[in-house]
Symmetry: C2
Subunit: 344 residues, 2 copies
Amino acid sequence: MSSISTVKDRTELLKWISEEYQGLNGTHYDVMETSPNALEFSRLVHISRPVLIKNSEAPDAMSRWTDQYLIQKMGNSKISVAVTPNGRADAVTTGPDGKQYFAEPYVQRLTMSSFLAALSSGDSNSREEVRYLQSQNGNMFRSSYFDVHDAEDEPSEFEALREDVPSEIPWCSEALDRPPDAVNLWIGDSASVTSIHSDPYENVYTVIRGAKHFTLLPPTEGWCLSERVYPHSTYMRSPTTNKLVLDPSSSEVPEVRWSSVTDPTVPGALPPEAHPIHITVEAGQTLYLPAGWWHFVRQTQVTIAINYWYDMESRGMVWVWLNTLRGLLEPPSGNDVVESAEHS
Amino acid sequence: MSSISTVKDRTELLKWISEEYQGLNGTHYDVMETSPNALEFSRLVHISRPVLIKNSEAPDAMSRWTDQYLIQKMGNSKISVAVTPNGRADAVTTGPDGKQYFAEPYVQRLTMSSFLAALSSGDSNSREEVRYLQSQNGNMFRSSYFDVHDAEDEPSEFEALREDVPSEIPWCSEALDRPPDAVNLWIGDSASVTSIHSDPYENVYTVIRGAKHFTLLPPTEGWCLSERVYPHSTYMRSPTTNKLVLDPSSSEVPEVRWSSVTDPTVPGALPPEAHPIHITVEAGQTLYLPAGWWHFVRQTQVTIAINYWYDMESRGMVWVWLNTLRGLLEPPSGNDVVESAEHS
């Protein structure tokens, strides 16, 4: 291993740090047969490596959530579904002007019945429009729910399903000494992916149906993801054709810093210094994804999952460490370095 | 706060990191009325900030350890005591050739009776020789004790006092999921100080008699301590005069990297970017001193303390973070930069 004293610039420093981290930790991740208790989980949070829990406590959703049950429970209430032409919401995409944009999805309000019908229609990989329930705003429970402790004061589009989903994970809330900041329901199929990114949250992710395929990189390997800054845009429906078109936001909307790597599972997409960890989370299993870890997520079938985001510990060194790793490189504009940006 | 993107060199990067850390954490430390339980301590280890516990569980030593009791229990057995001319064992000092050295103490084997008599004789600040019981090798219990679980297989100079000192701290061992690596007894007075340094151990420090005055700096402010490398030396007794003289080690003994700041409590000894935390630990109180924190320790009266060193978590990011902070600056030779080295 090279010495830090010979490091010449920021990129070399990041390479040195990621090599040290890799030398110490490798690509190992713990696999537990059952959920940890609060103390065990607290230790795992300190280590901050992914953990796969093979037999987590099954929420009632596990046994109940057939399509029929979901449709019947949700009835005519509308849910907010992300719609894109390519299944890549919150991702970098090429606009009609040939420029690269960070694209937020069009949000359509559908009944559960029509959403599930859309998911199961035809070949998932040849649809003109891809739907993904991925609202990420605490669509099941959000932090204010734990303040008011009165579900009626804090309604959810998924009110009718709340009885099947615990509002928090006891061993996790106890370890972190706080309730979740957001609990989200995800429903999608192979047409949708989640582009690689990291969150400042401790993430506990339980699969209810299907399977989620995670590609993970530690915070130390963020420099391998060639982040760029991209102008912001949102898909809208053209009033004339009714098709989805990318609508660039006004210049007042801040640009978005995002990885230019579209699919880190494609050979050659990452530099040789990256050591991705591939973990498949099957129905009934739970992944602990530590704060700051980079993750790319896909599924090969209709998959339902619930994730719990807990605020990470902001005191101490972890926050500063993550900011240092991320801040050392100043990302160039995504449209100045087209040669290294991959097109979708 | 300045932006990391304008940082030009390693020193500026370290300044940026310590400013970020300071902005987030300030000089706050938690004060607890009673000891934490294992889960609470696990959370505190993750935050990695000092914690003062005002009423820790008193070991039997608290009520029993009068001079008379210690002398009677220890009888004629000899204990290893550090002897220096200036009370600064394991510290930078000026040799007879005018060069700066890292000096290890002369080790003398004394009875408890003669050691305590030496401590209480005359003015502690005008002695020709200063004695400090500070062997730091697990003089009460060392890690192998916990392997063999048979005190007779793992003798200690302080065998006779073991019954008064718990071999581990239950809430700490449970939180860290391991026994201590070393348990040390410290006995000294105002003539002795511990020079500022950091250890890769979680340190739980209980004062039995007297009081310890700690000056602490977070790992992010290590750059404020102007580390240098010094040739190694050990005090020996001159065969002719019987006085302590500094004996430079052979050139095969590696040089020692050490802070050139002799006393960080002297005004101006630290740069303005340093934010030392001063904590006095009284008898019956316990300090949690997290791994990697810099500490300078003194006492103004005869003080007895027990400290528990636990191996820090080597998995994950903390170890790499501490190595990065410490490794970014290459320390110059202490004898090339005499103008910035303080003389004792």
